[in-house]
């Protein structure tokens, strides 16, 4: 079918607008990358826009030498990996029974869980519970209160219950118990939803900010988001001024930009691999259930 003139115009405007939208997502990132790789003079005289001016790695060098960013990086890694595993396991433990037809009181438990999505005790009462359990200043305060989100449990439950019941029955006739069915049939068939939900939890833990501010007092335990936020707020962010050469080449903008790059890189590295999964996962979430 040939496009009419009006349609051609429509398509052209559409392409231009979409390109502009995509550009709006790239330009800020390019700006930060350029800042992180430019020398101090160029940054201060405002010559840096989208490409680095006067290539240098000084900002990164002073970031790693003068700030505890490396320590914070490993803290972020620890928070993310353990938190994601814990959350994923508990989400499976919640979703699998709720997807079984023979499970007692499954509609009651589902309702009780959905209710937590639309009403909550809020920050202070949750804080009091966490404090009462003695979890303040430990990473368990980050992992436990957000262990399983009802939303993710519902997505996974829907996915499990869409796996044909015949498979389940056949396995049962062959003498498989519930756990064998879960491990040998359900989980291998659910890789897309597991990857999606792991991604959601993982990104949540990697970007954790408020929970760290609330529950972690020990600065050595800060993750990158809180450390970088503190660096952005304060003016003197580099503690180690032993190298005079370095001071001359230092600007707060450059170091901030370098810190942001260190935070973004891990996400950019895993993002392309997970994209197909999260698109699928969000679509799963759109199924009413």
């Amino acid at each position: 079918m040939r496009a009419s003139r009006g349609e051609k115009l429509f398509y052209m405007i559409n392409y231009v607008l979409l390109s502009l939208i995509a550009l709006s997502c790239i330009v800020p990132l390019m700006n930060v990358i350029a800042l992180s790789l430019s020398d101090a003079n160029a940054i201060m005289s405002g010559k840096v826009s989208l490409l680095p001016v006067g290539w240098t790695l000084y900002s990164f060098e002073s970031l790693f030498k003068g700030t505890p960013i490396l320590n914070a990086f490993w803290n972020s890694v620890e928070i993310t990996i353990i938190g994601t595993i814990l959350s994923l396991v508990v989400t499976i433990m919640a979703a699998y029974p709720l997807s079984r037809r023979q499970f007692y009181a499954r509609s009651f438990f589902t309702m009780a869980m959905v209710f937590t999505m639309i009403f909550s005790g809020g920050l202070i009462p949750t804080y009091l519970v966490v404090a009462k359990l003695g979890l303040v200043n430990s990473y368990y305060a980050l992992w436990l209160p957000g262990l399983a989100s009802a939303y993710n449990v519902l997505i996974m439950r829907t996915y499990f219950s869409n796996i044909p019941y015949e498979l389940d029955e056949a396995a049962r006739i062959d003498g498989c118990g519930e756990l064998r069915i879960l491990f040998n049939i359900m989980l291998p068939l659910s890789k897309p939803v597991l990857a999606t939900i792991a991604l959601f939890y993982g990104v949540g833990f990697w970007n954790a900010f408020m929970s760290v501010m609330i529950y972690i007092n020990d600065t050595a335990k800060y993750n990158m988001t809180v450390l970088v936020q503190n660096m952005i707020k304060s003016t003197s962010m580099v503690q180690d001024f032993s190298d005079p050469d370095m001071i001359a080449n230092l600007t707060p903008d450059g170091i901030r930009a370098a810190a942001v790059i260190v935070m973004v890189i891990p996400i950019l590295l895993v993002y392309p691999f997970l994209q197909k999964y999260f698109v699928k996962g969000v679509m799963l979430g759109s199924i009413k259930g």
Binding site: Y11, P125, L144, N207, M210, I232, L268, S286
Partner: protein, 317 residues
Amino acid sequence: MDNTSVVPLHQKEREATRRLRKRRFKSNLPLLIMFTPVVLYFVIFKYVPMGGLIIAFKDYNFYDGVLNSPWVGLHYFEQLFQDPRTLEIIRNTFVLSLLSIVFGFPVPIILAIMLNEVRNMMFKRTVQTIVYMPHFLSWVIIAMMIMTMFSLENGLINKFVELFFGEPYPFMYNNGSWIAVFISSGIWKDMGFNAIIFLAALTTIDPSLYEAASMDGASKGKQIFHITLPGIRSTIILLLILSMGRVMEVGFDQVYMLQNSNVNEIADVISTYIYRTGLQGAQFSLTTAMGMFESLVAFVLVVGANYIARKYNEGLW
């Protein structure tokens, strides 16, 4: 000898149901064991805090704890609704989140329709990959980018402003422009990701409808209004109900990182108030009352929106 023939029928039935029940229990046992920690989690970290809301009606102190602190009735709620400062915070929360929904809700729908109209698959996939990405970046990163872009000295955007108007504009220090930056940064971060769900809904529309409409001479605009939008109606309503729950909620990270002392009178919201006054200022009862007000309004809005949607057979439950 056949034993079963002498057993009365109802007894046989009872025997069968007993066995069935036993089998059901046997297959339920591992599920129950698996589910117990989940129940514990939801009770301890979701339902116990809901019970903890009673401190909004008490004068909470550390020594007496949640249960033994003295009752004060609605004292803290009265205080909240009489103090002009807290009223201002409630108003700010409403304004920012309402503007976010009003301007932010249609954007992913429009973006999804635009992407759906792209015929070049390479282009479509590239744009999708790029616009989904900001959703995964933390607000620390995005706030830093925003402050760099809008910076008075050498900010990329202010360089353009300077080029056209002669001098840079203090975007982050004026109430109106701060709100605009706040709202649009929120929209920008999540528009791509929120478009995914609408893109999924769009794939369910029968393509022959477009062909027929095009044959009958319907323009692109007409096709979008009469085929595309009605085709994804139930998804739109579903998400609108869910977004109602966020009317009282302005994400802490975003506000906390973008706000500055110049715009405090419009940028201070419930979540930052609870953090500052509640946790840092240790006014637990007062801020719990504020949190409870927030939760209740959100709850009523979600239930109300669902009630209305149900009248049109589009309810969530």
